[in-house]
């Protein structure tokens, strides 16, 4: 058996050749890197949010209500602020539609939802306000 034939026997390839294998290595590596680098980063950012609900009576008197539990801790907080605020706003609207807050309040009452937030910081220096009004008295 010649040296050349021995060395070729020693090799095992997934495809028929070394070139084919190397091409496959780089293709698979590229796919893995593209998908891994973006999707597999975990717990590296946070949007800190503090939600408070204030009832404003028709005479202007304000009362702070307890924040519903589902707005205190949220798994979605690992996303950046636009995503978190979008989801949060939708949940607040759903909550107001399904709760009895508006229907049981005196006409002219407003509910102010104050969302204070910050990205990657616990200093909440930005805010957004959502206002819900009961029907005005006729």
């Amino acid at each position: 058996m010649t040296e050349k034939s021995i060395s070729s026997q020693k090799q095992t390839f997934v495809t028929a050749s070394r070139q084919g294998d190397l091409l496959l290595v780089f293709l698979l590596l590229a796919c893995m890197l593209i998908l891994t680098c973006y999707r597999l980063r975990v717990y590296f950012q946070v949007t800190v949010v503090e939600v408070s609900v204030i009832r404003v009576a028709p005479d202007g008197g304000q009362e702070r209500l307890p924040t519903p539990k589902q707005f205190r801790r949220m798994p979605i907080a690992v996303q950046p602020p636009p995503v978190v605020l979008d989801v949060l706003e939708r949940r607040i609207r759903t909550y107001m539609d399904s709760s009895s807050l508006l229907s049981e309040a005196e006409p002219g009452t407003r509910f102010k939802w104050l969302i204070r937030y910050a990205f990657n910081s616990i200093h909440l220096d930005s805010q957004r306000v959502l206002l819900f009004k009961t029907d005005e008295p006729h």
């Binding site: 020693k10 095992t12 294998d21 290595v25 698979l28 590596l29 597999l40 946070v46 800190v48």
Partner: protein, 297 residues
């Protein structure tokens, strides 16, 4: 080609194309089948990611096929045969097709993605040379398992997972501890309260910034350490300790188990030097395992 080039080339050849030890490939195949069953098995609270709802037919397919019990039983059956070594290449790729839709379920997404890539890479090998069923199969049992490079890709994936996480956390906000404090306040799966800037362990109060820096250094070490054979055991011990400590701080589903499972690809001695495959022929007088005859180039 000079002597140095030749030596580097040989090392690269050994790194990518050294034959995989059939016994360890079989052991890993069985372990991978078991791990896939654990990570992909349905659990309470499973749901579809929002993107699925954008394609009209997909929710229907998920409801009536992918999330139906017969589909899971089919996966379990294929996994059993794969683990038993019955045509592992064919069944491996069949499993990839069957498991792919389940990567898009809420929860365990990272661990499912990692294991799916592992399955793709591993299925390129003939892992049925040892510990395998051969019911009704014709022809001789395969002698070789294949080259090392699919195993190298699995190893690289583990390093990339730790590496990208370490890089993503190498920011002033994370290293100052602000992000950990914010997460402990916001995330329901955080088990400790760090909002005052300290981790309280009995009489000890560890500043969060030290925790943040330590976790990033650990992740860099885990990304690199496994590539040095002498540091492998120490790196694995560090990794296991890191994930055990994390379990007291945050509940992160299966990702830590999946990462620790992949330590096997570094700890099992998969690669056999070229000249061990043909023990009857001695290639080199000084028994250098990296030796290749000149005609090889």
């Amino acid at each position: 080609m000079n002597r140095t080039d030749h030596s580097s080339f040989n090392r690269l050849e050994q790194f990518l194309f050294a034959p995989v030890d059939p016994a360890y490939a079989a052991v890993f195949r069985i372990a991978l089948a078991a791990m896939l069953a654990v990570v992909f098995w349905p659990y309470e609270g499973m749901g579809l990611v929002l993107g699925v709802y954008r394609v009209p037919a997909l929710p229907y397919l998920y409801k009536h096929i992918f999330l139906a019990m017969p589909y899971w039983l089919l996966i379990l059956a294929v996994l059993t045969f794969f683990g038993a070594g019955f045509s592992p290449r064919v069944l491996g790729f069949l499993l990839v097709a069957l498991l792919l839709p389940l990567v898009f379920l809420i929860g365990r997404q990272p661990s499912r993605q990692i294991l799916l890539f592992t399955l793709v890479f591993f299925s390129l090998l003939r892992s049925d040379a040892r510990l395998s069923l051969r019911w009704g199969r014709q022809g001789p049992q395969p002698v070789t398992t294949g080259p090392m490079w699919p195993i190298r890709l699995i190893q690289l994936q583990l390093s990339v997972v730790y590496g990208v996480n370490a890089l993503a956390k190498t920011t002033p906000e994370y290293l100052s501890g602000q992000i950990l404090m914010g997460m402990s306040k916001m995330l329901p799966n955080f088990l400790v309260n760090l909002s005052d800037g300290y981790l309280h362990l009995g009489p000890l109060a560890i500043p969060v910034t030290i925790l943040a820096i330590a976790s990033v250094i650990t992740e860099y070490t885990l990304a690199i350490g496994f590539w040095f054979p002498r540091l492998r055991i120490a790196t694995a011990v560090l990794g296991v300790s890191f994930h055990i400590v994390l379990r007291f701080i945050i509940k992160i589903g299966m990702l830590d188990w999946t990462s620790m499972f992949l330590y096997l690809v570094f700890l099992l001695p998969f690669d056999r030097p070229f000249n061990q495959q043909f023990p009857e022929k001695k290639y080199n007088q000084d028994s250098n395992p990296n030796y290749l005859p000149r005609s090889y180039t």
